[in-house]
Symmetry: C2
Subunit: 341 residues, 2 copies
């Protein structure tokens, strides 16, 4: 088994990606294709003592920049690390694709090079949000699509369900909700109102509308939404978390007493940050594609890259895509799976 | 001038509302109609020494509960404090309506009893979010509407612009953005793509797409969005703020050192909470109605009620609605104001 890692993607790449791959290969004895500038990568591999591990460097002359439009990755820059990493999966040489680079481009590579799973019209990105309870809530879709239709949300629900069962290893039958503006049935926009009855027809544990606040309470295991609202909520939440800590820091600086307090309290903040960091869950999988694709944060460090590679492995080893098909067959009524083979 | 206060609305009402009204009337010498259970309110007025102030109790036999559907407020419970408070504005006896009760019901009262401003199809709720910089960002709409159309968002932009200029007293020409999933023009869902060119046609300082993260950076003064996504973001943000503080608290409890740190750091946390509390801005105004309507948080205490009454006063005293019309006339191109008189 091999994982194709876009070794040039991410704010701290290629240091973070090479280190992460080495740590991963050491611990799990699973192969990694490091895709990127051969010269640089080989030098780093030597520097971080990565010899003798199942890590193979695949040369890629080009890099997708963080601000380039997604289409560049699959149309123009065919010699980019991202494009070549995606192609390794498409050609069956690798079983999974991991990138901390330009999210839109990584998604485009997954959708258009690796391809959607048969019968699944729209792949969705799942993110596990930390919650008050000791388990995350998965929000899907957080940006693979905008203007989704009701049947797409139903498929996102099954993807989220399967992710919680197989990868987050929930022993319970996941509670699924749909993101809306009120708890009661009938509240919401047209998309919610049209999707609600479809979700009720499934054998999922659909418990109704979830509100914005429910993303962090842990009441739900899976919350489905259109990628537009999911993406806005994801980015707003990340930003708010940082702004809150910054604002507290600014207040702390105003007196010596609070500064001392901050030093003493620091271990707790560090533990909190670890818990709250969704990189701990190994990044965000793009579900419903014909392979495994993990998109991790641009700020991913070596540990986050290692986590992403570990989660990618779990997707492959649990045969996630087969489980997803099983669930689609089992949980959806006939009329909702007509396009599936 | 009189403000009609739904004295029974809110988690801490009627204590919070009576106290808030007394503090407000003392400081600003402006009249308040306390609408609700006459016996209870008169007793509280005596208890908190509210005699001799321009506060008049108006009896209302009924109360809208927090979980009742909005329609109850204007159709069924015509003797509720909210309905009667709304009617006082409609009849011109009061100039503004303030409630900390059921948000949906308060909105329904404003829309259907007080009524939309002429030519404004959809009122919008504005919320001032605290940001990293020392000025808030106004998000509009956060839930008065779902499935908005492009022209509604253009009107929200003018409402937000006017709110920032007249009530938040910005000396600069407000920077307006539209909430989307990427910075570049062309990114977004259908609504964003259709609204973008319309906003460009206006004389607003429209600077393009804003992302979820921009709500808290202070880059924009006004960000417009459909009420569905705005409501989800508002509720998610409120919840995340609390969850973050709770999670840190849990970590703090784990050792005596961090507990001591927490005691020392407390003044900074308190200052932060004050800054971050959007009740400081006096709650959320519903803009575009034929009067003034301030909806404040269910958790509003006396101080938040006083703030809401103060902001309501500012709306009346600055002739907000006239300024809004002036701006619509001045900033929108002819084809976008055809329905205005």
């Amino acid at each position: 088994m091999y994982i194709a890692l876009d070794a040039m993607g991410g704010d701290y790449a290629p240091n973070s990606t090479v280190k992460g791959a080495i740590e991963f290969a050491k611990e799990y004895k699973i192969g990694v294709y490091l895709v990127g500038d051969e010269k640089v990568l080989k030098k780093l591999l030597r520097k971080y003592r990565g010899e003798g591990l199942p890590i193979e460097v695949i040369n890629a002359e080009d890099v997708i920049e963080m601000d380039e439009p997604p289409s560049v990755a699959f149309r123009k820059k065919r010699k980019s690390s991202m494009h070549i990493a995606g192609r390794l999966v498409k050609e069956g040489k690798a079983q999974a694709f991991v990138s901390a680079g330009n999210t839109g481009a990584a998604m485009a590579v997954a959708k258009f090079i690796i391809g959607s799973s048969q019968g699944i019209e729209r792949p969705g990105i799942a993110v596990a949000f930390p919650t008050k309870r000791n388990k995350p809530t998965v929000l899907i879709d957080v940006g693979a699509n905008v203007d989704s239709r009701p049947r797409h949300l139903v498929y996102f629900a099954v993807m989220g369900h399967t992710y919680v069962k197989e990868i987050l290893k929930s022993s319970k039958f996941p509670k699924v909700g749909i993101l809306s503006v009120g708890e009661e049935e009938g509240k919401g926009n047209e998309l919610v109102k049209d999707t609600y009855p479809l979700l009720k027809m499934t054998k999922l544990n659909f418990v109704g509308n979830a509100e914005g606040r429910d993303i962090f309470t842990g009441e739900f295991d899976v919350i489905v939404c259109d990628g537009f609202v999911g993406n806005v909520v994801l980015k707003a939440s990340e930003s708010l978390g940082m702004v809150i800590l910054d604002m507290i820091k600014d207040e702390v600086k105003k007196s010596i007493i609070t500064k001392i307090g901050a030093v003493l309290i620091y271990p707790a903040i560090k533990r909190f940050k670890k818990k709250a960091d969704y990189a701990e869950y190994g990044g965000a999988p793009l579900l419903g594609i014909n392979g495994t694709c993990i998109i991790t944060h641009g700020r991913a460090d070596a540990k986050a890259i290692k986590n992403a590679l570990r989660v990618a492995t779990e997707f492959v080893q649990t045969n996630f895509n087969e489980k997803l098909y099983d669930n689609i067959r089992e949980l959806l009524p006939e009329e909702l799976k007509e396009e599936l083979v």
